[in-house]
Subunit: 374 residues, 2 copies
């Protein structure tokens, strides 16, 4: 079946989509993907070997739970945990299980992990047209590392089940049941709530997640169609600290949005002056102390960048480094070890740094007295 029919697009609209696809290849197979948000087709949509994997839809956010939840939902709301990792869609195409990134690239490392650590064949045998959607989490990952207690290195948590081609989701209860049957680990379900009446319970969930340094929640209508997200202050601050540790490489809009969220949360939580000051101080620390730490490192002659550790099969790690290289990233390998593990045999553990040119060069320049014309 032609791609445009699979996507439900006219040949003409499909032509305009083709103007914005990028080409990539995985193990000798050339494929195309839509790296940016576009009219007519979701970001991350993949055209692979005659098959379509629909991009994962953008999940809108509310800044005020008490107003946003009743605004978005007119029936019961399932509340699941939003994890801080990287979004992955897994599909089986022509017999191969492949893991796609948010923007639609096959990630060889995630693909290796999924093949090795999840047995999805029974699921795909029964439901060949499924995209298994979820978050890859843990401290050892090449994109968004974050410590989760109980997660050793890297783990997968399913949060959606969609038709690969149409992008239609399964309803929440059906999805959780099926993943349970196939033994696929899932994100936590906190409960199902009445949208007009959930504010207090959501607040309690968020408070607990915040105290545990976890990211937030995704709320869903029971049919899985309507989604809404909300994040903890801990997540906002973590993002701010990270962005301001590489201040000239992160978008200013990224930083600004997180500051705005803090202010709205302070208002909705109806904070006392003491609580609001405490929040303000934590935000200030995330901003200023992250920057000063980076400036000090550059002043000391160190190169700053995004540091990651990955662990796994030696060949899979080679493929990952090639994959990052093919995306134009400059990777400095800082450690490359072989570790014997009882369970898995020999593993390779590589720590590398994605070089960020702008933060290094700009800070160096300012430290050397370069002037600013603003």
């Amino acid at each position: 079946m032609e791609y445009h029919r699979q996507l439900g697009l006219s040949p003409e609209t499909f032509e305009t989509v083709l103007d914005h696809v990028e080409r990539a290849s995985y193990e000798g197979t050339e494929y195309r993907h839509v790296p940016d948000y576009r009219r007519g087709v979701e970001r991350g949509t993949v055209l692979f070997d005659g098959a379509v994997v629909r991009g994962f839809p953008k999940v809108p956010r509310t800044l005020v739970l008490g107003a946003g939840v009743p605004q978005q939902f007119d029936g019961p709301v399932a509340v699941e945990e939003k994890l801080n990792g990287y979004n992955t869609r897994i599909a089986r195409i022509d017999g191969d299980v492949l893991a796609f990134s948010r923007s639609g690239l096959v990630c060889p490392y995630t693909t290796w992990f999924v093949e090795r650590r999840l047995d999805l064949d029974p699921l795909f045998d029964d439901h060949p047209d499924t995209a298994v959607c979820g978050e890859m989490i843990g401290s050892e990952n090449p994109y968004t590392p974050h410590d989760y207690s109980g997660v050793d290195s890297l783990a997968f948590r399913a949060f959606d089940w969609r038709d690969r081609q149409s992008g239609e989701p399964l309803d929440v209860r059906g999805r959780r049941e099926r993943y349970g049957e196939y033994g696929v680990p899932q994100v936590r379900l906190f409960g199902v709530y009445d949208p007009d009446d959930a504010a207090d319970e959501l607040r309690e969930i968020i408070d607990q997640l915040d105290a545990d340094d976890r990211e937030g929640i995704v709320m869903k209508s029971l049919d899985g169609v309507t989604q809404l997200k909300y994040t903890t202050s801990a997540a906002n601050r973590g993002d701010l600290a990270y962005a301001f540790s590489l201040p000239f490489d992160y978008g200013q809009a990224f930083m600004f949005r997180r500051l705005i969220r803090e202010a709205f949360q302070s208002i909705e939580w109806n904070e006392s002056p003491e609580q609001a000051h405490k929040r303000a101080h934590a935000v200030g620390e995330a901003i200023v102390l992250s920057m000063t730490e980076t400036i000090e490192r550059v002043a000391d002659g160190e190169a700053v960048g995004e540091r990651h550790t990955v662990r796994g099969d030696p060949a899979a790690i080679d493929d990952l480094l090639d994959h990052l290289d093919a995306q134009g990233l400059t990777i400095d390998v800082q450690a490359d070890d072989r570790v014997e593990r009882e369970r898995d045999g020999a593993e390779r553990v590589v720590t590398f740094c994605k070089r960020v040119q702008s933060t290094n060069d700009t800070i160096r320049g300012y430290l050397d007295g370069q002037i600013v014309r603003e």
Copy 2:
């Protein structure tokens, strides 16, 4: 003399400049000005009634005094105070003393103030081609109000003396002497320093200005040509608090630049962890508490905006309000009083608000549960 000759431009280059001028009028005289930074001619350059008033040059900034000062200067550096108000150039054209804004508009209110409060005719009689350059400061002004002890409502402080047409500055000592002779108030001169040796003294000046909630310094080569500025943390925080009080109307780059300055200052001051935390907390308060205050006001149904008070001749204030209106600003007059003053007779005191649509609308929307697709 033709404009292009006065500007030292070829007729062809002048043609390209003309593509970017804007037209305005003052008391029936149509004039042109260059509102943005352009190749070939300074922002704020004015073509008025056959005369040229050259735009005031952009003053570059250093983020690190110890490195930037020796980098920029190879001889003695005069250090003057940078005041927090609005930049004004005053010129006499065809007998009329006119005050121009940074972008090259005649401000009728500033012009009235200058006519009424400064007697510049002896200066212009002797030096007809001069642009008197300085800062308008004080709590009662329509652009950048800031309290200065000893400044009652509005005041002028000269900081430069330039040839109106060429933009050539007078040397620092000659300039200070001449303004002294003509009785024109000037910015403070802190002293003249060796650039390789000034770091400690500059630090002391900045510390004192910071403690007094004042803005900073401008350093100048003695010939007045090379300029470099540096600001206090108090000024950065004041700007941040103001910008974040109208978060959806201020540029994110404006905010970001001020955060960067704080980090570099913390590093250059070699702060202890306690001092760095204190700075971070103050920055966090400037950001978060300004936003929460604004959100609360919008939640309470108030309209937020830039609030100003001006005081003066009733007709001059009418002209000012018309002038702001002609620039497309929406002005809500909140108080309009008549005050008898012993010295000056009747004065009109008007408090008005420049409406900022985006902050009001966006905050209202989020409070009502509008979702964010980011």
